[in-house]
Symmetry: C2
């Protein structure tokens, strides 16, 4: 990772857009598929990552960067799964700044990773405006949050390639129409791919992971 | 409301902090209790306001300001309850700017209101840093979001007077410890008052509304 450190040294002062371009180059040179996972607080991002790690065990090597305002609670959860993980605490920033992600990569061995999953700060607004050089932005939305959210927070759905509906095991207990959320998401982003998942029942995890593997295969080709 | 309009004209150019002071003066002069309701997207803020309106019918006059990035979905829901409501759409801003709230008050008759409930943009980060001249900040957290949230987003819990735990009807179906969230919230804010509520079963709504009425009575004295 020596060359990454050189890049860090050279580029650390630059703007967020430039940092995002540096990140994209780093991911491209290592054929690492970078996933920027965004959602509200409590939509189940960390749980989704845990399910993906378990499903990909022995097939793909995952590294994880966790972003939070405060605490290392999430990285401690991920570390138990035996994968590389680094925690960013953003203090008051409502998203991961790309410059901090560049620094974080200095703590990971990307040559030993096929996928990098970056769990952004829980927020449907700010992360939408700040690309991290990722290949795939995934927005998670739990069925407890309401099916109108794509209309109320359009940019994050517009800029995401994949929508993962989480916590479908709670559908019997909440007012949430899967058809309505799909209609809303497709209205703001006609190309968005939608997966319905539950980390409790396992529904949809295999299909989502297969899709991510296929995206990695395209990139690594 | 002519004098409010004069204040708007005089003060519209000033900083957010000054705008918050203008708001506090407006609320004080009219003995309106201003509530700034904050939470993640989908925690049930609008539903909580609807329950409060129904409970307070005939006792206190409520006016509501709804804040969203896009859409008037929430204000349309509130309008059906027969109370004054005005929608702010913030476009890309992740919180209600106090200057926009000053403008919004020009659309409401505060002399015909005892309470003003401002539903902020769904976000646990930015609204924490931007006071709206409110008397009471209430943070809502649904049981589906996880009991560690006060540790991960401390500022919003530190700056709130009341924590309303919402969707307690879903407790049987999720991993969430009410004791753990109380411990976490009190760790960051030892004076926070905590209410456990469900708009579905009605649990806790009466106790919360009684507390808000008492706070209004203190202010109107």
């Amino acid at each position: 990772m020596a060359d990454v450190k050189v890049e860090i040294g050279q580029e650390i002062q630059q703007s967020a857009a430039e940092a995002a371009r540096v990140l994209a180059r780093i991911f491209a040179s290592r054929k690492v598929l970078a996933v920027n996972l965004v959602s509200s607080p409590g939509s189940g991002k960390t749980t989704l990552i845990e399910a993906m790690i378990d499903r990909l065990a022995g097939r793909k090597r995952i590294a994880v960067v966790e972003g939070d305002i405060e605490t290392e609670i999430d990285s401690e959860r991920i570390r138990k799964h035996g994968v590389q993980v680094h925690q960013i605490t953003t203090r008051s920033a409502c998203h991961i700044p790309p410059e901090l992600l560049v620094k974080a990569l200095g703590h990971l061995d990307l040559d030993a990773a096929d996928l990098l999953v970056v769990e952004n700060v829980g927020n449907l607004v700010c992360p939408a405006e700040v690309p991290l050089g990722e290949d795939v932005r995934i927005v998670a939305l739990s069925v407890t949050e309401g099916d109108e959210k794509p209309l109320k927070y359009p940019l994050i759905f517009k800029t995401s390639r994949i929508l993962v509906i989480t916590k479908t095991d709670l559908l019997p207990y909440v007012k949430f129409s899967t058809d309505a959320v799909k209609t809303a998401a497709l209205a703001v982003n006609p190309r968005i791919e939608i997966f319905e998942t539950s980390a409790v029942t396992g529904e949809g995890i295999a299909a989502l992971v297969d899709r991510i593997e296929a995206l990695h295969a395209e990139k690594a080709r």
